[in-house]
C-alpha cells in the first residue's frame, strides 16, 4: 500500500498503479479515452491530465497525464486544479473539432463515452469554424458498423484489435488529424473478436451492426445478467430486449471468466431467439398427421394423461439445457432412466474430464486466469473455434514471460513501453493438433499429428516431468526433442497450463493431458488444467451422471419404456440417424425445445421451451463453475421454461416447485456434487431495501405507450416469481450483488465504461466478488496416472481417420440461426492433405464420396497442408452436415468422377 494525495486529501492505494487507475478506483471522475483497463496506458489522448506537485510546498505544479504517471508513495496531485480542468476541457474541444455532432442518429448515443466525457469536462460551446475532415466508411461485414467521421483518434480500436486480439486486418492509416482506422479495403473483419470494437471504441465509429437492424437505445432496453450459451466457457453477458425481441448482447464483466470481452459467436449468436423457427405453441401430432397447435393447458392435460398411463419413461437430457431443466427431467424419468443426451463418445469424454478434475491434483483454471499463464501446452484443441475466448487469453499469456524479462524499469501498465521492449518475443506456447490452428502463428512450436500421436506426445512429456508417469514406447527423435522442450518450458514456468478437451473426441488425448498436469503437480509446480467441453452445460450434464444414449434406445426397444421425453436436444446432431430413428419407435415422443429441428419434427408432442433469454437457470462451465442466468424478458404466450413444463407433468414436483430455487434446492440435496450451485446467485426472495432489482433503467421510455396499439391501459409489469429481478423500472437501481448486475450505469457514466464503478478497483473483481460458484476442486493426493498410452497411428489402406474440424461460425447449434453467423459459416467440405488428395486424384474443390456408417455423403475437398496422411477432417455440424461426424472412426473416401455428380 502507498499513500497518495488527491486535492490535499490522503488516500491509501495498492502500489504499482498509474494515477488514472488509482483515481478511478478511488471513485474520482477523471476523464480518459485512450486508456482501457485491459489495454492499459499509452498516453495518446491527453484527456486524463492532472496537476502534479513535487511536495506540499510546491504551489505551481505541472500538468501530467495521470495514465502515464506512477502513483508512487507520497505523490501529490490535483484533479480540481483550474489549469488542469481547463486543459481537459481544451482537449475535449479538440476531440470534437471534426466530430459530426450527430448524436441523434448515432447508435452510440446515450451510452457514449465521448458524450459522458464531454459533459464531465463541461465543454458545451463550439468555437471551431473550419472545415471538418470527412471520410468514406467501409463495409466490415455482418457484425460491425463503421462510421469514421465520429473518430477521435484514441487508437483504442487498433490497440485492441491488433495488439490485444492479434487481428491483422485493421489498421491506422495516414496521419495528423486525418488518421483513418479501418481495413485496407472494405471486407469482413477477420478477427473472431471484432465485436468488442463496439465496446472498446468510445464513440460511434464501431457499433454493433446486429443491433442496428432492430435498434433500441440503451435506456430503452430491458436487461438482465446472463450467461452465454454458445460454448462451455460460460462467458457472462448482458442481453438487452424490447418488445419481446432480443436486441443485442453486451459484455458482463467477470474477472474469473471473460473479463472485458466476448467472442463474436457469443456476441452475435443471440438472434436465434428471434428466429422464425421458434416454437411458440405446443403441438400435438396424431400418428402420420400434421402437427396441431393446442393451448398450454390442453397440452399439459394430454401429457398428464400420457404420463399416468405409460409403461415407462426415458428422459433424454441436454448439455445446452440448465441444471434445473435436466434435473426436472431426471425426476420425471427417474435416475435410472435419465440419459445425458450426448453421443456415447461425447459422454465418455465429458465423464473422463470430470474424473480428471475431481480425482487428480491439477486445478481447473478459471478462464479469467488463463491469460496469466506463462507456459502453455495445448493438446488436441482448436481453441479458437471450440472455446474462442481461450484464444484471446492465450494471446496475452505468451506475453507473460517476455514481459517479466523486460520488467524492472517498465511498469506493467505502460503499454507502449512494454510492447516496445517485448517486440516480437513470445513465451512458450506449444500446440499439437491435427490441422493448422489460428494460434500457430504465435506458438513456440505447432505440431501436426493424428490424435493418437498427440496423446503419445503428452504421455512422453508427462514421463519427462515425473518418472512415475508412463511413457509411450517407440517415439521418434523429433517427438522426443519436442517433448523435452515442452517439459522444460512447463517446468520453468511460474504458472504452467495444460489445455485439452473433448474437441478432438479422443479419450487418450485427455488422459495424456491429465498425466502432464498431474506430473507437473507432482514435481511441485502449480499445475493448471483447462479441459474444454462442447456446450454451455456439458459439464453440468456430465456431473449429473445420466446414462448413455444407447441406454435409452435399449429401454425403448426392450419395451421397458414406451415414452421418451427429449429435453432441448436435436438428437440428429448427436448420433447417426439410424440410431435416433429407433427411439421414435416409442409410443410417445415428447420433445421440449425452443427451435424447430429434426427431432421436434418427428415428436408426437412438442412443447415450446423458453430460451436463455426468457428463462432462469444454472449452467456449469468447463471450469466447474456454476453460474446463474436470468430472464431478460418474460416468455410470450404458451412458451415456458423447460423445467416448468416438466414440473407440470411430474406429479411429485407440481406442488413442490414454485420457483427455480425449489428445483435447485432439491437438486443439491439429491446430488451432493452440486452443493453450492444454488449460491451462484441470490435466491428469488432476495431484496434490497425491500425492493427487487429493476431490469429497466430509470429512463426507460414509452412504458405507458409501448402497447397502446393493443390497449390504452398500461399493462401491469409481468411478475417474476423466480428471481429478485423485476420486469420494471420500479425497483433497486443501484449496485446489486454481482450475480444480479443487470447493466453498468452510474451517474455521469452512461457507457459500458461505467463498469469501473462496479469494481473494487479498476480491472479488479466486482465489488462483492466475481460471480459463480466452483463445484470442483482438485484432490490433494498422489495421482493415479493413466497407464495406457495408445500405440502409434497407423493408416489403413483406403480408409481415413475422421477428425472433427470446428468453425466458430457454423459448428454450434443455436448461433447459426443468427443471420450474421450463418453468413460467415462455411459450406460443408472434406479436408484432406494435398498428398492424400493427389493419391485420390482429387484437386481442391473436387467432389468425393465419404462412406460412413451413417451413409454416403458427397463433399467438395479442401486441401489442408499440415493434415497428417491418412487423416481426413470433417467440419462439425455445419448446416447440412449435422449428425454425420463420428470422430475417431475410419471411413472410406472415393473420388467422384466429373459428370457423375448431379445428385
Amino acid at each position: 500500500m502507498v499513500r497518495i494525495f488527491v486535492d490535499n486529501k490522503q488516500h491509501e492505494i495498492e502500489a504499482g498503479q498509474n494515477l488514472l487507475a488509482a483515481c478511478l478506483s478511488l471513485g474520482f471522475d477523471l476523464p480518459y479515452f485512450c486508456w482501457h483497463p485491459a489495454l492499459h496506458s499509452v498516453g495518446a489522448c491527453r484527456q486524463c491530465a492532472v496537476k502534479q506537485f513535487r511536495d506540499e510546498h510546491d504551489t505551481r505544479g505541472r500538468i501530467v497525464m495521470a495514465c502515464m504517471t506512477p502513483a508512487g508513495e507520497g505523490v501529490r496531485i490535483s484533479i480540481d486544479d483550474p489549469e488542469a480542468r481547463a486543459f481537459r476541457a481544451g482537449v475535449i474541444e479538440l476531440m470534437m473539432l471534426n466530430h459530426p455532432h450527430d448524436c441523434p442518429v448515432c447508435d452510440e448515443g446515450g451510452e457514449c463515452h465521448l458524450q459522458d466525457m464531454t459533459v464531465m469536462t463541461g465543454h458545451s460551446r463550439r468555437r471551431y469554424r473550419g472545415k471538418k475532415r470527412t471520410f468514406h466508411n467501409q463495409d466490415l461485414g455482418p457484425f460491425v458498423n463503421h462510421e469514421m467521421n465520429r473518430c477521435i483518434q484514441c487508437y483504442r480500436c487498433v490497440r485492441f484489435y491488433r495488439d490485444y486480439a492479434g487481428g491483422s486486418d485493421l489498421g491506422a492509416f495516414s496521419l495528423r488529424s486525418q488518421v483513418y482506422f479501418g481495413r485496407h479495403e472494405s471486407g469482413v473483419l477477420e478477427s473472431e473478436f471484432s465485436g468488442n470494437l463496439a465496446e472498446v471504441c468510445p464513440t460511434g465509429v464501431f457499433t454493433d451492426k446486429s443491433l442496428k437492424r432492430h435498434y433500441t437505445r440503451k435506456w430503452d432496453m430491458q436487461t438482465a445478467p446472463s450467461v452465454c450459451m454458445h460454448c462451455a466457457l460460460g462467458c457472462n453477458i448482458i442481453p438487452g430486449s424490447r418488445y419481446g425481441s432480443l436486441r443485442r448482447i453486451s459484455n458482463r464483466f467477470n474477472g474469473q471468466v471473460n473479463g472485458y470481452f466476448l467472442c463474436d459467436r457469443g456476441r452475435f449468436g443471440y438472434e436465434f431467439v428471434n428466429s422464425a423457427r421458434r416454437l411458440r405453441r405446443p403441438l400435438l401430432r396424431k400418428a402420420g398427421g400434421a402437427p396441431a397447435p393446442v393451448s398450454a393447458a390442453a397440452a399439459l392435460r394430454r401429457l398428464r394423461g400420457i404420463i399416468a398411463g405409460c409403461r415407462g419413461i426415458v428422459g433424454i437430457g441436454s448439455p445446452r439445457a440448465s441444471l434445473e431443466a435436466n434435473y426436472a427431467l431426471r425426476r420425471l424419468a427417474g435416475p435410472d432412466r435419465f440419459v445425458s443426451g450426448v453421443s456415447d463418445g461425447g459422454q465418455r469424454l465429458a465423464r473422463l474430464a470430470v474424473r480428471i478434475l475431481q480425482t487428480g491434483p491439477a486445478r481447473s483454471v478459471p478462464p479469467g486466469d488463463i491469460h496469466k499463464s506463462d507456459a502453455v501446452l495445448v493438446l488436441g484443441e482448436d481453441v479458437t473455434n471450440f472455446a474462442p475466448m481461450l484464444d484471446l487469453a492465450l494471446r496475452q499469456s505468451v506475453r507473460q514471460r517476455p514481459l517479466r524479462d523486460a520488467a524492472g524499469a517498465i511498469p506493467p501498465w505502460d503499454d507502449t513501453a512494454s510492447r516496445g521492449a517485448v517486440q516480437q518475443r513470445r513465451g512458450p506456447l506449444f500446440i499439437a493438433t491435427p490441422a493448422a490452428a489460428r494460434l500457430d502463428a504465435i506458438a513456440t512450436a505447432a505440431w501436426r499429428a493424428a490424435p493418437a500421436e498427440i496423446a503419445r506426445l503428452g504421455f512422453m512429456v508427462a514421463s519427462l516431468l515425473d518418472q512415475d508417469a508412463p511413457a509411450a514406447a517407440g517415439q521418434g527423435a523429433e517427438e522426443r526433442t519436442l517433448a523435452a522442450a515442452i517439459a522444460n518450458a512447463l517446468e520453468e514456468a511460474e504458472r504452467p497450463l495444460v489445455i485439452s478437451g473433448a474437441g478432438l473426441g479422443s479419450e487418450a488425448v485427455l488422459e495424456a493431458a491429465a498425466n502432464v498436469a498431474w506430473a507437473l503437480a507432482e514435481s511441485g509446480r502449480p499445475a493448471g488444467l483447462c479441459l474444454t467441453l462442447p456446450e454451455a452445460n456439458s459439464m453440468g450434464a456430465a456431473l449429473m451422471e445420466g446414462g448413455p444414449l444407447s441406454l435409452a434406445v435399449e429401454a425403448v426397444e426392450s419395451g421397458e419404456a414406451d415414452t421418451v421425453v427429449i429435453l432441448e436436444n436435436d438428437l440428429y446432431r448427436r448420433a447417426e440417424p439410424s440410431i435416433v430413428n429407433r427411439l421414435f419407435k416409442a409410443r410417445h415422443v415428447i420433445a421440449i425445445d425452443s427451435l424447430d429441428n429434426s427431432t421436434t419434427e418427428r415428436a408426437s408432442v412438442v412443447l415450446p421451451a423458453a430460451t436463455f433469454a426468457e428463462s432462469d437457470g444454472t449452467l456449469v462451465n468447463s471450469e466447474g463453475r456454476a453460474q446463474r442466468y436470468f430472464k431478460v424478458m418474460p416468455p410470450l404466450g404458451d412458451v415456458m421454461e423447460s423445467w416448468r413444463w416438466l414440473a407440470g407433468i411430474t406429479p411429485a414436483a407440481e406442488a413442490a416447485w414454485q420457483t427455480i430455487d425449489d428445483v435447485i434446492g432439491d437438486l443439491e440435496k439429491e446430488l451432493p456434487v452440486f452443493t453450492g450451485a444454488g449460491l451462484a446467485a441470490p435466491g428469488a426472495d432476495f431484496r434490497i431495501g425491500g425492493q427487487k432489482v429493476a431490469r429497466q433503467a430509470r429512463s426507460y421510455s414509452g412504458r405507458t405507450a409501448m402497447s397502446a396499439n393493443l390497449s390504452v391501459n398500461e399493462p401491469q409489469s409481468p411478475a417474476d416469481r423466480d428471481s429478485p429481478l423485476a420486469f420494471s423500472m420500479e425497483g433497486f437501481q443501484g449496485q446489486p450483488p454481482p450475480p444480479l448486475i443487470p447493466r453498468y450505469w452510474e451517474p455521469g457514466w452512461n457507457s459500458a465504461q461505467a463498469l469501473n464503478k462496479f469494481q473494487e478497483e479498476v480491472g479488479g473483481p466486482l465489488r462483492g466478488g466475481d460471480p459463480g460458484k466452483r463445484l470442483i476442486e482438485p484432490a490433494r493426493r498422489r495421482p493415479h496416472y493413466f497407464q495406457q498410452a495408445p500405440g502409434p497411428f497407423s493408416r489403413s489402406a483406403g480408409r481415413w481417420l475422421l477428425v472433427p474440424l470446428y468453425h466458430i461460425f457454423g459448428s454450434e447449434e443455436l448461433s447459426v440461426f443468427s443471420p450474421g453467423i450463418r453468413q460467415l459459416a462455411p459450406s460443408p467440405y472434406l479436408a484432406l492433405s494435398p498428398s492424400d488428395a493427389a493419391g485420390l486424384n482429387i484437386t481442391a474443390g473436387g467432389l468425393v464420396e465419404l462412406q460412413t456408417p451413417a451413409g454416403f455423403i458427397r463433399l467438395p475437398v479442401r486441401l489442408i497442408d499440415a493434415l497428417p496422411a491418412g487423416v481426413a477432417g470433417v467440419p462439425v455440424c455445419l448446416p447440412g452436415l449435422e449428425g454425420i461426424v463420428s470422430p475417431g472412426i475410419f471411413a472410406g473416401i472415393n473420388a467422384v468422377s466429373e459428370g457423375a455428380g448431379g445428385a
Binding site: 491488433r162 491483422s168 486486418d169 485493421l170 489498421g171 491506422a172 492509416f173 495516414s174 496521419l175 483513418y180 481495413r183 485496407h184 479495403e185 516480437q424
Partner: protein, 147 residues
C-alpha cells in the same frame, strides 16, 4: 532480390518496409494496391500494417505520379523568399494545382517540407535534382529539361 538485400541490416523482415516500398516506387513510379499486397507477403507483415506505414510517409506515393515529380519547398525560409509566387508560376506553367499531375502525365507537382537549402531559397527538386535560387521567370527553361 533487391528487396531481400535491403533486409540485410535488420533483425526482422518488416524493418525493410520503407526500403521495399521505395524500391517498388523506383521501378513503377508509385506503389499500387497490388504491390502492397505482394510486399506484405514478402515482408511478412499484414497488408493493413504495411499500408498503415506506407500511408504515413509523404515520399511513398500511393497514387500514380507523372514521369517527373516536382517537390517544391513550401516552408518558411522559401516562403520568406517568395516561394508562393514560384509555386503559382509552376502551377501556371503546368496548368495544374499543387498536388496534381499534368494531363500528359509528364509532371506531378507536390509541395514539400523544407529541403534544407534555405540559404539558396527558393528551392525545389525535380526527380533527384535540387534546384536552388529558382527564378520564377526561368521556370519554363528548367522544366524543358524534363521530358
Amino acid at each position: 532480390m533487391e528487396i531481400e538485400a535491403a533486409m540485410a541490416p535488420y533483425p526482422v523482415r518488416q524493418a525493410a518496409a520503407i526500403d521495399a516500398l521505395r524500391i517498388v516506387q523506383r521501378h513503377q513510379g508509385w506503389v499500387s494496391d497490388e504491390a502492397i499486397a505482394e510486399l506484405s507477403k514478402l515482408l511478412e507483415m499484414p497488408i493493413a500494417e504495411l499500408d498503415g506505414t506506407a500511408s504515413f510517409y509523404n515520399l511513398i506515393f500511393r497514387r500514380p505520379v507523372g514521369r517527373h515529380v516536382i517537390l517544391a519547398c513550401d516552408s518558411v525560409s522559401c516562403w520568406l523568399m517568395d516561394s508562393k509566387k514560384l509555386m503559382s508560376h509552376i502551377a501556371g506553367c503546368l496548368g495544374v494545382d499543387p498536388g496534381r499531375t499534368t494531363a500528359d502525365g509528364r509532371f506531378t507537382l507536390l509541395p514539400v517540407v523544407c529541403l534544407g537549402a534555405c540559404d539558396r531559397a527558393p528551392a525545389m527538386m525535380i526527380d533527384e535534382d535540387l534546384h536552388t535560387n529558382v527564378d520564377p521567370d526561368r521556370i519554363g527553361e528548367i522544366l524543358d529539361k524534363y521530358e
